[in-house]
Symmetry: C2
Subunit: 467 residues, 2 copies
């Protein structure tokens, strides 16, 4: 005997079939509940529930006193969201949009995140089940202005392990790490200001700074942090208000700041009234923590931000800001004015995931898995004559130079036609000096098709002429 839910489904299926086969067009009246029940040999309440569900979906609609009618047919999904845009220029948003828009089945060695089964979906599932039993207030209410206290307390403890002492009033939750950086930029910058970024650096900083109408100045990144001579001259020449960088593992190079560079960099910042945003999005990927500028500085001119989109989930978004209390107060007002409450449920899920006893083991396994994937990717790129700029100790990325000055944008376009999203170097480079570089995400480099397609693209794309 079929269960009630499958009887409801069969009524739904029957109605849908008549609509999709055009037996019932828009405006057609459905059989009455009683007639339908008799015809299909089910109870009246089964038909009521089926009609209610179809009405909730908008497939049919009730008219007072006269039953249910078929509404207009749904528009087909737009082609635009099923196909990558081959014609888009390689601008700072190129990699984001290609990675986000690719249809299932595309390979994404250039994207910035891990495959979904590498993230902490088990922790999320436990969190979702726990939240399903939580008080109504946790499910439907706005968060307080600073965000969920329990999560902020967890973040406080995590920061302390990196030597960053933050009081509870120095921690503000944001919708995401990107939102955190954006809020700070809105607070600190005005159009025309100068901002230093690493060259190369995370392409979305460039897109964001463009949205703020400020001038981004690239400072070459070395194996131990930004080139301090260039940094010092840029301070002199441009009097920048802000420097945005990664804490720990640098995106896209995988390099880390050395203690010496950190101390000297902060000294330069102090003498020039420069403010620094340190984006700690890859914190849990490090094998041993690099020095944090926020720890040296005591959250005076350094603002520490982060999120868990890379380690736990990018679907349940939650970021944070640790900064001076007076800045947090101003940022809180700005957050309320421009996004109001914040995702309280996402903060609860993040708090559950971070304090779950499985999370430490999960990240341990991820780090091991990444080490293997890194070795594998290094072997594959070297076979194609591609040279890693650095062999990083941890993290997702390999920053690599293509052989013989090949143009990475052209190679990326060729690969995209074959269903492989590659991240061309100039998307990361403010100075556009990384035309022959690409960023690989080792967690997305398992499929042998990647190397076939890339090899073919390298062969097709003639080397640029040399001097």
């Amino acid at each position: 005997m079929s269960r009630p839910s499958s009887r409801i489904d069969s009524v739904i299926h029957a109605v849908r079939s008549r609509i999709s086969s055009r037996l019932d067009g828009p405006g057609s009246r459905l059989p009455s509940v009683r007639t339908q029940a008799t015809t299909m040999g089910v109870s009246v309440s089964t038909v009521v529930e089926a009609y209610e569900r179809l009405a909730a979906e908008g497939v049919i609609a009730a008219r007072a006193g006269s039953g249910f009618y078929v509404t207009g047919p749904a528009a087909p999904l737009a082609l635009a969201e099923m196909e990558p845009r081959l014609d888009r220029a390689v601008d700072p948003l190129w990699v984001s949009r290609q990675s986000l828009e690719t249809p299932p089945g595309h390979l994404k060695p250039g994207c910035g995140w891990m495959p979904s089964d590498w993230l902490y979906h088990d922790g999320l599932r436990r969190g979702l089940r726990r939240m399903a039993r939580a008080d109504a207030a946790h499910l439907v209410d706005y968060a307080g202005p600073l965000g969920l206290p329990a999560l902020r307390q967890t973040l406080q403890r995590r920061a302390a392990t990196l030597g960053i002492e933050a009081s509870m009033e120095q921690l503000l939750l944001a919708e995401s790490g990107t939102h955190a950086v954006d809020l700070i930029c809105r607070f600190l910058l005005k159009p025309g200001d100068c901002v230093l970024v690493d060259d190369p650096s995370y392409f979305n900083y460039h897109a964001m700074l463009k949205a703020h109408q400020v001038q981004a100045i690239g400072v070459p990144y070395t194996h131990t942090g930004p080139d301090l001579e260039v940094f010092a001259s840029a301070l002199q020449e441009h009097a920048p208000r802000l420097y945005i960088t990664n804490a720990g593992l640098h995106n896209p190079t995988g390099a880390v700041l050395s203690a010496t560079t950190a101390h000297r960099l902060l000294g330069l910042a102090e003498r020039s009234e420069l403010i620094i945003i340190e984006d700690d999005i890859f914190a849990d990927f490090e094998l041993r923590p690099a020095p944090r500028l926020a720890a040296l500085d005591g959250l005076s001119r350094v603002i520490h931000v982060g999120s868990f989109s890379k380690a736990i989930s990018a679907a349940s978004r939650c970021g944070y800001i640790a900064a001076r209390p007076d800045w947090i107060e101003a940022l809180t007002d700005l957050k309320l004015a421009t996004s109001f409450g914040g995702g309280h449920l996402a903060a609860h899920l993040m708090q559950i995931a971070l304090t779950d006893s499985g999370y430490r083991r999960h990240m341990q396994a991820v780090r091991t898995r990444l080490a293997d994937a890194r070795k594998h990717t290094l072997r594959q790129v070297q076979k194609l004559g591609i040279t890693p700029w650095l062999q990083p100790e941890a993290g997702l990325f390999l920053w690599c130079q293509l052989p013989d000055g090949r143009d990475a944008s052209a190679v990326a376009r060729l690969c995209l036609r074959e269903g492989v999203v590659v991240a061309p170097g100039n998307a990361f480079s403010q100075s556009q000096k990384a035309a022959d570089y690409v960023r690989f995400n080792v967690s997305q480099c398992q499929d042998p098709k990647i190397w076939q397609v890339l090899g073919k693209a390298l062969a097709t794309n003639a080397p640029r002429s040399h001097a």
Copy 2:
């Protein structure tokens, strides 16, 4: 026999007790796993799990090869987040922060949302359980640039019922309704621009426009929409770029736009190249839909935005924008640059809630409940000599005038001392001409203490001198 989970809990409890009683201070070494297991008569794996959980919370930490140690004690929760700020000036953020910061037990007749048990927590619970069984990709991946197609399809059908025809490429998901309006402001406005708002209007528009460094000009709101004579002169005098208003039920007055006003207003906008944002946050509260400017205009110069924070959940945030395709394309790039992917999980939950067969019944019950609460609140305010500006047909709000020109900010401060958050009129008024008005949220007006406290405050607060 106790279950494993309660044995784990008893180990956790034992460790916590020793820490809180200061038997084990920061830095103390915990008994080894084996010793603890023997002492407490539990298995080694039980102690391992308990220690892991405490370590995940940061209460204790593992040191390689030498066991577990007590970390520093957690800082107490900041007082600032447990107490309302009595000294804060009544600015556009006053009501938000007071409402969001009040400790449990405070009454909030002035806040903008319903009590948690009036929202759709049952639908959320069903959604959470369903998502707990979903594919990993739904739990951890970024959304596509426009956001979850299934939800956008649902929004498309909902818009169509209001006469708004939007293709799938004309619908963009945002983090919240506030985020939607903010994105549009970033796209359209530059510092120094003029923007028309209703006077009174939702206070957070004022805070947001301040953040955009634009000049907000208030146009008096009548029982059928903005005062069109003042609107026309404001167009002449200030050449505003944008007008922000509510679709359907107006906040704070509960008035609705008449068909005649809608048509004439749109005519004025067309002749002046004015763009209009219509914020449809209270759509599901209407008994019968008021005319939508976006429907008349065909999404040419009108941008339609909305969210479900008021009807379903403010904790799982999700907003949307319907606009011209070229504007959606630009807004999508701006969204990626400033907040990247968006809360995919929240979009899934909203899609499940909106297509749940119980949602229609839920909102029907809410509308009935609000009608009763409105009657009750009207009786109570009238007993205190408070006069409603309008008796709205639907929605949460009553916009009311205090007797004898009493100052609502002073009354609000007195009430706050007694644990009652009142929303003073000038928080909503660009012209500051609503000093003797307050906004009541009828769903938050059940407790008789509200009327006692308010009555006392009105008696204490001497009437202002009259001319």
